[in-house]
């Protein structure tokens, strides 16, 4: 279980992913959920790079390219998410997910 074992990276990625899911499911604040999403994305990016490093054939940097794309999309998504949180803030004075339950069954 060292730096040059794929298993460890997979383990770390899995831990990141699980914590991300935990954050998404339990946080009461929208920011918390956002943090969770970022964690899950990072887990995926890390796994891409890890597989790229250990599995991919010579000179193949698909993993890293994919990770770059992941980061780009994460950035874009964060921007839009925060814009929408801003809209919620301006109308509700708060981004507490317990209070944004007007749309329900």
């Amino acid at each position: 279980m060292g730096p040059d074992h794929l298993g460890s990276y997979l383990a770390i990625a899995a831990a990141l992913f699980t914590t991300g899911v935990l954050a998404v499911c339990t946080r009461r604040n929208a920011i918390g959920v956002l943090i969770g999403i970022e964690l899950m994305l990072n887990a995926a990016a890390l796994q891409f790079v890890a597989y790229g490093r250990f599995r991919a054939p010579l000179g193949d940097s698909i993993g890293q390219a994919a990770a770059v794309f992941v980061i780009v999309v994460a950035a874009a998504e964060a921007a839009v998410a925060l814009a929408l949180l801003f809209a919620v803030y301006r109308t509700l004075r708060d981004i507490d997910l317990e209070r944004t339950r007007e749309l329900a069954a």
Binding site: M40, Q47, L92, I95
Partner: protein, 478 residues
């Protein structure tokens, strides 16, 4: 190079239009923005009809399905732009048009994608513009809440999907469908199917299939009607197109037995149909009922795909889309016009709006009847196609009998959701209008009226022109 240019003509034209609209926003030609967007999309539509088929590297594959999906997407975008032009009075028109074009572009790319990355990027592009459109109505608490829920749920789902894709990359070393399919052929499918399933979460989320349908009712209820229309229709066309391609290339029949694939899809379809029908009955908001109908119709399309190896399966799904899209757009536009206060389509508030705008009411009834599947309209033929495919395969092979149970679920959900649609018709037409009628109803904006007429005409035409189905069948399997 000129070859790929010709193939990607529609996408390029659309991108150009997008940028032009952005410039027009900057250069204060706000009133032209919509015309610009409209003309651009029409050119793209023309180009997509004429564009040759082919593949762009291992990224995009413009095959029979993409050739059909692209004009459909652009046509819907045209309809939405025409409606938006007269519905939106505020001055952020150009931004809205640009976002819609971005959504359309995302859909085009997803529909044509043959590689996991453009698929995921296309999904993300659609989602981002979708989030913005959902939260578009400024100052409205409901619209903001809808946007937020959409962005959070969308983000989580795409992250989960990405995680699946990373494992797929780990296994296959390549990200394109053909590669994954080839890798599947090499060794035992267990891990790959798992990774594939998680990767396909993105599609399921976009198609609002059961485990990932939770956001749809809330978002459809809160978002402005045009946003719901665009988010509800364009991504579905793209998702079905790419699902068909993924199933045919990434999951070749030779290896994963069609029975297990159709078993899974039939299970998802039955769950979507029943959950949507039952919850629609107790919904108290018109757009929320439309959301549940979207979930149910997604279930039906997936049921059509579940009968896949059979020739008429994909045609049934395609015809279902052709019937579903105009009906949903028509219904939502009608609701937008009938709702007394913008953005509130609760059944209680819609009471008696039929008296104020009778013809819009009639259009709504026709669209809802088509969604419910009543015979003379397109919805019936769509259900007919799906049922035929399911029964033909189900009766043919005993191990595919799960399709018969799914067909039964489809019939049951048709019967139950008819009650939900009746709730809307009851509110619009049968309930007496509230006494205090403050504002006089403004005349019908011409743009929206035209779009509404087009949608109703499409529903009726597809319903009566029985041979439409055969033409579609021929075009999909030349």
């Amino acid at each position: 190079m000129s070859e790929t240019l010709m193939i990607l003509a529609p996408e390029l034209i659309l991108t150009a239009t997008l940028l032009a609209v952005l410039l027009s926003d900057a250069a204060r030609w706000r009133s032209f923005a919509y015309l610009l967007a409209l003309s651009g999309t029409l050119c793209a539509l023309l180009a997509s009809a004429l564009a040759p088929r082919g593949t762009v590297g291992d990224q995009l594959a413009i095959d029979a399905w993409a050739a059909l999906a692209r004009p459909a997407i652009l046509l819907s975008a045209v309809l939405l732009l025409m409606a938006a032009r007269s519905l939106h009075d505020d001055d952020d028109g150009p931004a809205w048009a640009a976002l819609l074009l971005a959504l359309a572009l995302g859909a085009l790319v997803t529909a044509a994608s043959a590689h996991l990355l453009p698929l995921w990027l296309g999904l993300e592009l659609m989602s981002l513009s979708g989030y913005a459109l959902a939260g578009w109505r400024a100052g409205s608490r409901r619209s903001a809440e809808a946007g937020m829920k959409y962005v959070l749920f969308g983000g989580a789902a795409s992250a989960l999907s990405l995680y699946g894709m990373s494992h797929l990359y780990g296994l296959a070393g390549r990200l394109d469908f053909a590669g994954i399919g080839a890798m599947l052929a090499v060794d035992q499918p267990l891990p790959v199917t798992a990774a594939l399933l998680i990767a396909s979460v993105g599609l399921a989320y976009k198609l609002t299939l059961v485990p990932f349908h939770y956001y749809a009712p809330d978002v459809y209820q809160g978002a402005p009607p045009l946003a719901v229309a665009s988010v509800g229709t364009l991504p579905k066309i793209a998702a079905i197109a790419v699902l068909v391609r993924a199933l045919s290339s990434a999951v070749p029949e030779s290896l994963v037995s069609p029975a297990s694939v159709s078993g899974l899809l039939a299970l998802l379809a039955t769950a979507s149909l029943l959950v949507a029908a039952l919850t629609a009955v107790v919904a108290r908001d018109a757009q929320r009922i439309i959301a549940y109908s979207a979930i149910a119709h997604a279930g039906s399309m997936v049921l059509a795909l579940a009968a896949r190896p059979h020739s008429s399966a994909t045609a049934a799904a395609a015809f279902y889309l052709a019937a579903y899209v105009p009906a949903t757009i028509g219904a939502l536009l009608a609701l937008a016009l009938l709702a007394p206060t913008a953005g509130r389509t609760a059944l209680v508030e819609l009471a008696g709006s039929g008296q104020r705008r009778p013809w819009t009411g009639v259009a709504l009834v026709v669209c809802l009847a088509s969604l419910a599947g009543l015979p003379p309209l397109a919805g019936f033929l769509a259900k007919w196609g799906v049922l035929r495919a399911a029964l033909e395969v189900g009766l043919g092979a005993p191990e595919r009998s799960v399709l018969l149970w799914a067909a039964g679920a489809l019939l049951l959900s048709t019967a139950i959701s008819a009650w939900a649609y009746l709730l809307i018709i009851r509110a619009v037409f049968f309930q007496p209008a509230p006494a205090q009628q403050t504002t006089a109803t403004p005349p019908l904006p011409p743009g929206v009226a035209a779009v509404l007429a087009l949608c109703v005409a499409a529903t009726l035409a597809l319903g009566l022109w029985l041979s439409g189905f055969a033409v579609l069948l021929h075009s999909l399997h030349p």
